[in-house]
């Protein structure tokens, strides 16, 4: 299949570092932008994570970092800008219009495209969410520029100042670095929790550049009839959990999975799992950690009976401390865990649960 059409960002033959002169018209594109995504009055945290990453890129390039807020006129949109400054933005482009109340592809594509054409950023970052991906694909096509999806690392190529965007490919077995040649802006999306949350700095502020949307409701074909919010109580919240206890196929039988729940209960942790367990129906899909599941970055991740396949690893390796329990001393998970116990998960897990319980009891006594 090597001479086949590749219709995606799966690697073609690496083209190597191509020398090229950036078009003078494109060299005028300056600055790093982050699209500030919000829904129902709340900014998606991926936007702050992107500002953290965007700050580093902007500093390396010696340019400004901007947040882009499209929303309704009033306090809320302005508070989003203020919050963007606290997370590292130097300025915000603000487009206020009643039509921007709910996310819709048409007005948001028009708004963001207009801003890009008017103020010409060299890099534009969006979250790889249902909103960010919907918008990014439309905007990139309208602008006829390159877009790299689901990046795990963003860097500046020192030779030509272009964005080098790294992403997993072929089901995560390999990584590839993608560059956008003679096109601007260079666009990329990043999944939530892949990048670290930047420190919030209360003292930071910045300037706001306003720009009108300039369309009327009658010209927008798609209408929002209703928004049915998720019942968050019913859903596991792995992405922001501080502690996660996760199980894999090494637990052997669904009956053994309660050992994970018991440890999690003592620790006040969330429960995660590998894909095979989700596919076999041991736990719900929202608990899957990894490339085709959730990306998590807890302070402590306990992995029991998990081999550490790369597709699982990419979803959890940003955890501060990883404890791995595996009967195979050569399991790949020991290559990147912090601590390892070589042994049978079915006996280690209860022992660990008991040890934590005692530790907590002693800590409480000590006050």
């Amino acid at each position: 299949m090597s001479d086949a059409n590749e219709t995606s960002q799966a690697p073609k033959k690496p083209a190597g570092r191509r020398k090229f002169e950036l078009d003078p018209a494109l060299a005028a594109y300056k600055g790093v932008w982050v699209f500030i995504e919000h829904e129902r009055g709340k900014v998606h945290t991926v936007s702050w994570e992107l500002l953290g990453e965007g700050r580093k890129l902007a500093d390396k390039l010696g340019v400004e970092l901007a947040g882009v807020v499209l929303g309704t006129p009033g306090d809320m949109s302005r508070s989003f800008c203020a919050e963007a400054f606290r997370h590292g933005a130097d300025l915000c482009y603000l487009m206020e219009d009643e039509l921007l109340k709910d996310y819709r592809n048409e007005p948001f594509t028009k708004g963001l495209t207009d801003l890009v054409n008017r103020y010409q950023p060299e890099i534009l970052l969006l979250g790889a969410t249902t909103q960010g991906r919907d918008l990014a694909g439309s905007v990139a096509t309208t602008l006829q520029t390159g877009l790299t999806a689901d990046c795990t690392e963003l860097a500046i190529d020192p030779e030509n100042r272009s964005l080098a965007a790294t992403r997993p490919t072929f089901g995560g077995s390999l990584l590839c670095t993608i560059v956008t040649l003679n096109y601007r802006p260079q666009m990329a999306t990043v999944r939530p929790r892949v990048m670290a949350m930047p420190e919030r700095d209360e003292s930071r502020s910045g300037r706001i550049v306003e720009h009108p949307l300039g369309i009327v409701e009658a010209s927008i074909i798609t209408k929002v009839l209703e928004f049915i919010p998720d019942n968050l109580q019913d859903k596991p919240q792995l992405a922001f959990a501080d502690i996660i206890v996760a199980g894999g196929r090494g637990l052997k039988k669904p009956e053994n999975f309660h050992l994970i729940w018991e440890l999690a209960k003592v620790l006040g942790a969330e429960v995660g799992a590998t894909r095979p367990l989700v596919q076999d129906g041991w736990v719900e899909a929202d608990r899957q950690v990894g490339q085709s599941g959730k990306t998590v970055r807890p302070k402590l991740y306990i992995a029991a009976g998990i081999s550490g396949a790369v597709q699982h690893r990419v979803g959890m390796e940003a955890s501060d401390v990883i404890i791995a329990i595996n009967s195979d001393p050569n399991a790949p998970i020991f290559d990147f865990a912090t601590y390892g116990i070589v042994g049978n998960a079915m006996t280690i897990l209860p022992a660990l649960t008991e040890a934590f319980r005692q530790h907590l009891a002693t800590a409480k006594l000590a006050g």
């Binding site: 299949m1 001479d3 086949a4 059409n5 590749e6 219709t7 995606s8 960002q9 073609k12 690496p14 083209a15 996310y103 048409e106 249902t130 991906r133 990014a136 694909g137 439309s138 096509t141 520029t145 877009l147 999806a149 689901d150 490919t169 072929f170 089901g171 390999l174 990584l175 590839c176 993608i178 560059v179 956008t180 040649l181 096109y183 074909i221 209408k223 009839l225 209703e226 928004f227 049915i228 919010p229 003592v266 620790l267 402590l300 990419v314 404890i323 001393p329 020991f334 290559d335 990147f336 912090t338 601590y339 390892g340 116990i341 280690i348 022992a351 008991e354 040890a355 934590f356 907590l360």
Partner: protein, 281 residues
Amino acid sequence: MHIVVCIKQVPDSAQIRVHPVTNTIMRQGVPAIVNPYDLYSLEEALRLKDKYGGRVTVLSMGPPQAEAALRKAISFGADDAILVTDRVFAGSDTLATSYALASAIRQIQKDMPVDMVFAGKQTIDGDTAQVGPGIAKRLDMQLLTYVSSIPALDMENREITVERRAEGGVQVLRTKLPCLVTVLEGNNEMRFATMANMFRAARYPLKVWDKDGAGIEDITKTGLKGSPTIVSKVFAPTAKTVKAEIIDTESNQPKDLAVTLLAKMFTQHPQLQREIGKSAN
């Protein structure tokens, strides 16, 4: 009603192996399948056809072997299949791909107007989720991504109502045809191929279009030339240099191992003391 469903043949990523020394993909013997996300879209399109009548045309851009994916779709109940294949498309990124597919859809429209285009939410090999939005933009169609259900379709007024997965909830949207829909996984399951359709698939005279057949106007917008992004480097994830500290005790009894681990961890990472049991009950 006429629906065009865009599908892609992909290598079954579950079976892809990386050569341990050269870090290259070992494609040999890896079976090609229909991108699983495309099947949710195809099934949804077939359900609309069952309910409202009309035709479903499947469209794929790819190498000649992608014919197999299209025949598979016919066996599930699609009416027509078109393969767009030409060497000029080699190396296309998502922008160039949406250009070629949009152009082919315009050709299809010359024979029979297209009311809706369905595309997979994303592919399992590229994962970009960009081709659908790109086609919609190029054909000036309304874009409906991550659709979980289609509660209403009014062909008379050419209006469609869909439920779309948004962050933190579900948006109920109403729009006008023509539109492009990408379907969220897990809300339907591909039907079984009937015997009759399997026979039909085997005999079906597939339409094969080269760049002229697909009505490509500007060849510089296709293939490597028409792709703003290039892959500059492919590499294996680096192994961390520091391996796990393996907890060892004389007895190697679970209890001793657990206690030793905790003591070590809380000494080296005292901040974890505060996290443990924080929200336990």
